[in-house]
């Protein structure tokens, strides 16, 4: 037989919608949830990154046709094809390792993904192509790379 809570039987609180035990349970649960939320918020402060996202590089002529130039500070590569200059992010789209360059492709040392020089996936496990990053020209005719801006794969900078 279940133990009956005497509080439910008492005349003076009959009809009260929230007896003491239920009230305590509710307030404990609520304060527990509130505390968890507080701890979550406390831990979620994020320091601003000090690493730059935008760099002014060299003049366009410093990148000859079919060249592949690393920009290690921004984890990117500057490349040039017939249509002009473009920048590829060096971050593997699988799990973010930095890809290295081989003769005709970029290769991720972590899990073996490979990409061609236009960033398209040659071999998994990465399923997405490397990201193309924004290139522009500064007023003094230097190439500016902004790694925070993604651009379509077809976009080229052609000041030649």
């Amino acid at each position: 037989m279940a133990v009956r809570d005497e509080a439910y039987e008492r005349e003076d609180i009959k009809g009260v919608s929230l007896p003491r035990r239920a009230f305590l349970k509710l307030s404990l649960t609520a304060s527990g949830l509130l505390m968890s939320w507080g701890i979550f918020r406390f831990l979620s402060y994020q320091q601003q990154s000090e690493n730059p996202v935008r760099l002014t590089l060299q003049e366009p002529m410093a990148y000859p046709p079919d060249s592949v130039t690393p920009v290690p500070q921004l984890k990117a590569w500057i490349l040039r094809d017939e249509a002009g200059l473009y920048a590829l992010s060096a971050l593997c789209t699988h799990l973010g390792c930095t890809v290295g360059e081989t003769e005709t492709s970029f290769e991720c040392p972590c899990h073996g993904s490979r990409f061609n020089l236009h960033g398209a996936t040659l071999q998994g496990p990465a399923s997405k192509p490397l990201e193309h990053l924004d290139l522009s020209l500064s007023t003094d005719n230097k190439v500016v790379l902004d790694s925070s801006k993604k651009v379509p794969a077809s976009q080229r900078l052609n000041p030649f």
Binding site: Y45, Q46, Q47, P72, L95, G96, C97, T98, P109, C110
Partner: protein, 341 residues
């Protein structure tokens, strides 16, 4: 007057059946694991006095411990090797429990506590590697934390909590430090105390209900003697390994360059191999969680019987034994592939 036994006396009753204290039954694996935890707690506390949890100084402070502090190399080496051996003894302990049917009622809940402790051991080991803040762990840390991002809905928030920013940087060391030296030990001490308390509460180390004629018991003194012998042998081996094979410490972590040969710590090599095979979430999160889930449900779904307890490879536990062999075989093969690459 009846006196309640103290915690130590609870763990060491006046007498226990001789057959459950046999070395060839338990191999002393649980006891050795607890001893290693104690060694880790002490050597870890010593390292705390010199370790600096910032990206700029973490690696250098470990160099200080290793090269300048008297006996620092040995303390660090003992800490490292205890942690490595603990992974092995925990896993073997789990194997012993499955193959002797010790997960069956009334020990089902203690099986879960044990699995919780196993997860904690792996988290401890990984965060310990991260605290080295060297190139050996750099890419594994990057991959491991990016893996969190692949979890739907909560992934990004979870990543922020673990890494302490939008990318791996100084706050990351602080976070892993906090977990490694405070939060994880706190949880572990509670779970471990509960785990060994439950061993006695559930009727002692599992033993067969058959052969009731063997009634020999050993005394508390004999039990303590055997424990001390096991600890002595473990200490000598541990000291020898630690003195002869000091752990490596790579150059300071720097994630700006091109990834070099990224290799997960050995106990996560199987996950690294899985990651080569498909989408990060499926291979790196769902599959490992599935492996853990299979272990969790062993006494609840795979083998619900309560006979055959304490019998090596008992018939009723066949399914559970096959499942464990299958899962560990898979993990072992993947690990071997990882080692050979």
């Amino acid at each position: 007057m009846f006196k309640r036994p103290s915690f130590v006396h609870h763990l060491h009753p006046p007498t226990i059946p001789a057959r459950e204290a046999r070395f060839r039954y338990t191999f002393g694996l649980g006891g050795i694991s607890i001893f290693l935890c104690a060694v880790l707690l002490i050597t870890g506390a010593l390292e705390l006095f010199y370790y600096v949890p910032t990206a700029a100084e973490a690696n250098a402070s470990l160099q200080t411990i290793t090269l300048l502090v008297p006996y620092g190399r040995l303390v660090r080496s003992i800490h490292f090797w205890s942690a490595q051996i603990l992974v092995v003894t925990s896993l073997l302990h789990m194997g012993r429990v499955v193959f002797t049917g010790s997960y069956k009622p009334p020990r089902r809940f203690n099986w879960l506590l044990g699995l919780g402790l196993l997860v904690l051991v792996l988290l401890f080991d990984f965060s310990g590697y991260v605290l080295r803040w060297d190139m050996d762990i750099a890419w594994a840390l990057l991959v491991g934390t990016n893996l969190l991002k692949s979890i739907p809905l909560i992934g990004e928030g979870f990543y922020g909590l673990v890494v302490g920013g939008s990318e791996i940087s100084s706050p990351t060391v602080g976070r892993f430090y906090g977990w490694h030296v405070y939060a994880l030990p706190l949880v572990t001490i509670i779970l471990l105390g509960w785990h060994i308390f439950k061993v006695r509460r559930d009727g002692g180390i599992s033993h067969s209900a058959r052969n009731p004629q063997s009634k020999t018991r050993i005394s508390r003194d004999e039990l303590v003697n055997r424990e001390l012998t096991a600890l002595l042998v473990t200490s000598v081996l541990l000291l020898a390994i630690a003195a002869l094979l000091p752990p490596h410490l790579g150059a300071k972590m720097d994630l700006r360059g091109i990834s070099a040969e990224a290799s997960a710590p050995w106990f996560f090599l199987w996950i690294q191999q899985l990651l080569r095979l498909g989408s990060p979430f499926t291979m790196g999160v769902l599959l490992p969680v599935a492996v853990l889930t299979i272990l969790v449900v062993i006494p609840y779904l795979i083998d619900r019987s309560s006979d055959g307890v304490g019998e090596w490879f008992n018939r009723r536990g066949r399914a559970a034994q096959v499942v464990l062999i299958g899962v560990s075989g898979l993990v072992l093969v993947l690990t071997l592939f990882g080692v050979l690459q």
